[in-house]
């Protein structure tokens, strides 16, 4: 649906203004959130939002269901650890780690170029699990076993225990940058092509799209973004550990994307806030008098972050597949359906399941828009 330019410009301006205001408000967060613990949580949210953006590029944009995304998150951390313990400075180390990650992503992308669908998920899972066990058992001698690899040369200013706001700002700046990159891709021709590949690989191919090269590009960008998140996370932990390569990280990225809303720009951001803030909130609740008074098993049940996330996730998959970002849209749509009903059910608008109501809605809007200028 194309709106006339006159109608489009204010919308873009509005979104831009809201976005800018949000950036300013969030950048000032350490000033009005005085408890430094919540500043570290905010930094963590930024890091996982970047990871979510990266995962969403593959799942929501080009339609690749990866089950080994932790590989890119953890690999960057280990590259940084090895470079800095080898005597390299933090900044060149971090840049090299992200570049190394991009190279790794391209290699994995090339290796898996022939597989898609569930096969792709399982091959990427196999790679990530191989990397995880290799790191945990220190097979390559580069990963320091279960203890992990320390990140050396971290200045005091970037130590999250001393100055959490500095790491927050760094992570937030990287998040803004990542959002801009993803936004640019989504608006570009390439983003449209990726949408096309996701919707129908066959159609895209017959229209002359070289799917393999598009997939490699998507992999490189997603690997780079996940690398940024992995480097920031390693700086925050001051260690690269096998946990960053574990299946749990992939599941977190998937939860963030699905809960927030796959295929949207805002989704991973909302999802990251939901997934990462709920953990400390539940912890806090677990220390409350009410929960402490319970016996062991109900206490564990009520303070289980994974169970809460799992249940929310199941409800969303069943009833709101568009994630949290589609909540407003869904409510509006329900209202519109009712409005159509009141108008006496023009055309076939009378009784329709909600899924078809969207078509009705767009067709009505379209009708009015095209009628407007003439």
């Amino acid at each position: 649906m194309t709106l006339p330019a006159a109608a489009r410009t204010p919308r873009v301006l509005l979104i831009g203004a809201v976005g800018l205001a949000a950036v300013v408000v969030l950048a000032l967060l350490p000033w009005y959130v005085t408890d430094s613990y919540w500043v570290t949580v905010a930094a963590d949210v930024c890091i996982f939002a970047i990871l979510g953006l990266s995962y969403n590029l593959l799942l929501g944009q080009i339609g690749l269901f990866s089950f080994g995304h932790a590989l890119f998150f953890g690999a960057a951390a280990y590259i940084l650890g090895n470079l800095t313990t080898g005597g390299m400075g933090l900044v060149p180390g971090a840049l090299l780690a992200v570049c190394g990650n991009i190279v790794l992503a391209i290699i994995i992308g090339l290796l898996t170029i022939r597989v898609s669908g569930i096969y792709f998920a399982i091959v990427t899972l196999a790679f990530a699990q191989a990397a995880y066990t290799a790191a945990e058992r220190d097979v390559l001698g580069l990963t320091g076993g279960e203890n992990g690899k320390p990140i050396e040369g971290l200045p005091r200013e970037l130590n999250i225990n001393v100055f959490p706001e500095n790491l927050y700002w760094l992570a937030f700046a990287m998040l803004v940058l990542s959002v801009l990159v993803v936004w640019g891709i989504r608006r570009s021709m390439m983003g449209r092509v990726w949408d096309g590949i996701r919707e129908s690989p066959l159609r895209a191919q017959s229209l002359g799209v070289a799917i393999p090269s598009q997939r490699i590009v998507a992999f490189a960008v997603a690997g780079g973004l996940a690398g940024v998140a992995g480097v920031l996370n390693a700086m925050s932990l001051q260690y690269a550990t096998p946990n960053e390569l574990a299946l749990d990280i992939t599941v977190q990225a998937l939860l963030i994307t699905i809960i927030g809303g796959p295929g949207t720009l805002l989704g991973p951001l909302l999802g990251a806030v939901f997934v990462r803030v709920s953990a400390p909130l539940i912890d806090q609740w677990g220390r409350s008098e009410f929960v402490q008074g319970l016996s062991e098993v109900p206490q564990r049940a009520l303070t289980s972050h994974a169970l809460m996330l799992g249940l929310v996730y199941i409800v969303l998959v069943l009833f709101l597949p568009g994630g949290l970002t589609s909540l407003g849209q869904k409510l509006r749509r329900t209202r519109n359906t009712l409005a159509v009903d009141e108008r006496g059910g023009r055309a076939a608008g009378g009784r329709m399941p909600p899924d078809h109501a969207q078509e009705t809605e767009t067709s009505i809007e379209h009708h009015e828009v095209t009628r407007g200028p003439t």
Binding site: Y119, I314, L318, P321
Partner: protein, 298 residues
């Protein structure tokens, strides 16, 4: 490595293969008919292990086998009936499959967590096994196999033969095999495919529950990451053998089980790393697996 060690390792590898086969064949059956990779299969396996070990410690072996199998079968029934079936009427096949896939992942998260909540984070040991299951049976060259492992190898073979007989000889098996080929066509021939879907899911889940107990007895205890670790191996086996291929998962289970045991003898740290690495390489070279049909390549 002398002959005795080799024979002992071979028997251990076969016992592990039998357990992996029980797990993987349920997974591949569900995939073959429903076209869904069941991410909750590992959690079902884990639940079977915990329910089984708890019953084994308090009641006995027979109660453990029955309890682990039936409780997980019930869980599978609930999952299929009340959650998966919601997607059967989805607009497109793509959204239905992705929805079911994502759903099984959620079920997996919840079931694993519930098991952890109920049982706590510590290892739950099985204690000694009864009767001859604890005895060592001497084999050629000084090698040996303990009674339990010999039994589980036999169980694996019996299940393999029994399932093959059901699939080849019975009407249900015929419907399942036909459903793997083309579920829509079978439905069109007035066969209630949905009932076969439920039955397959329940049987597959029951096998996962039984395999969980078998694994817990094999390791002489159960722990919370048991499900995840074996699910990854089972995925690999299923794809290695060819998704939906029953014979393939048997061969895959043998390869992975033997490789795991022998590699961990020569180079313990490299065990999972090498197995997963080899799986990844095989899958890249031959995505359709050893016995699978040609897959569509994008």
């Amino acid at each position: 490595m002398d002959l005795g060690t080799g024979v002992t390792l071979l028997m251990n590898g076969l016992a592990l293969s039998a357990i992996l086969f029980l797990l993987a064949s349920g997974l591949t059956m569900i995939f073959g008919l429903l076209n869904v990779v069941n991410f909750a299969h590992g959690a079902f396996f884990l639940m079977g292990a915990y329910v089984g070990v708890a019953l084994f410690r308090d009641v006995g072996l027979l109660a453990a086998v029955v309890g682990a199998t039936l409780s997980v079968a019930l869980l599978g029934f609930v999952t299929e009936r009340f959650l998966m079936q919601r997607f059967y009427s989805a607009d497109s096949v793509m959204t239905a499959h992705l929805g079911q896939l994502l759903l099984t992942l959620g079920v997996s998260l919840c079931v694993t967590e519930v098991v952890q909540i109920a049982a706590g984070p510590n290892l739950l040991p099985t204690g000694d096994l009864p009767g001859f299951l604890n005895d060592r049976i001497g084999l050629v060259g000084g090698g040996y196999v303990d009674g339990y492992r010999a039994t589980i190898i036999l169980v694996g073979i019996v299940v393999f033969v029994a399932l093959a007989a059901i699939l080849r000889r019975t009407r249900t098996g015929l419907i399942v095999r036909a459903g793997v080929e083309d579920a829509d066509m079978v439905q069109g021939l007035r066969v209630n495919v949905r009932r076969s879907f439920t039955a397959t899911f329940v049987i597959g889940s029951a096998m996962a529950g039984f395999a969980g107990l078998a694994a817990a007895l094999y390791y002489r205890g159960t722990f919370v990451t048991l499900g995840e670790e074996h699910l990854v191996l089972a995925f690999g086996i299923v794809v290695l053998g060819g998704l939906g291929s029953y014979l393939g998962s048997a061969v895959g289970a043998l390869l992975v089980g033997l490789a795991t045991v022998f590699i961990s003898y020569w180079w313990p740290p490299g065990q999972t790393f090498i197995v997963m690495g080899l799986l990844a390489i095989v899958l890249i070279v031959r995505p359709q697996g050893l016995f699978g049909k040609e897959v569509a390549r994008a």
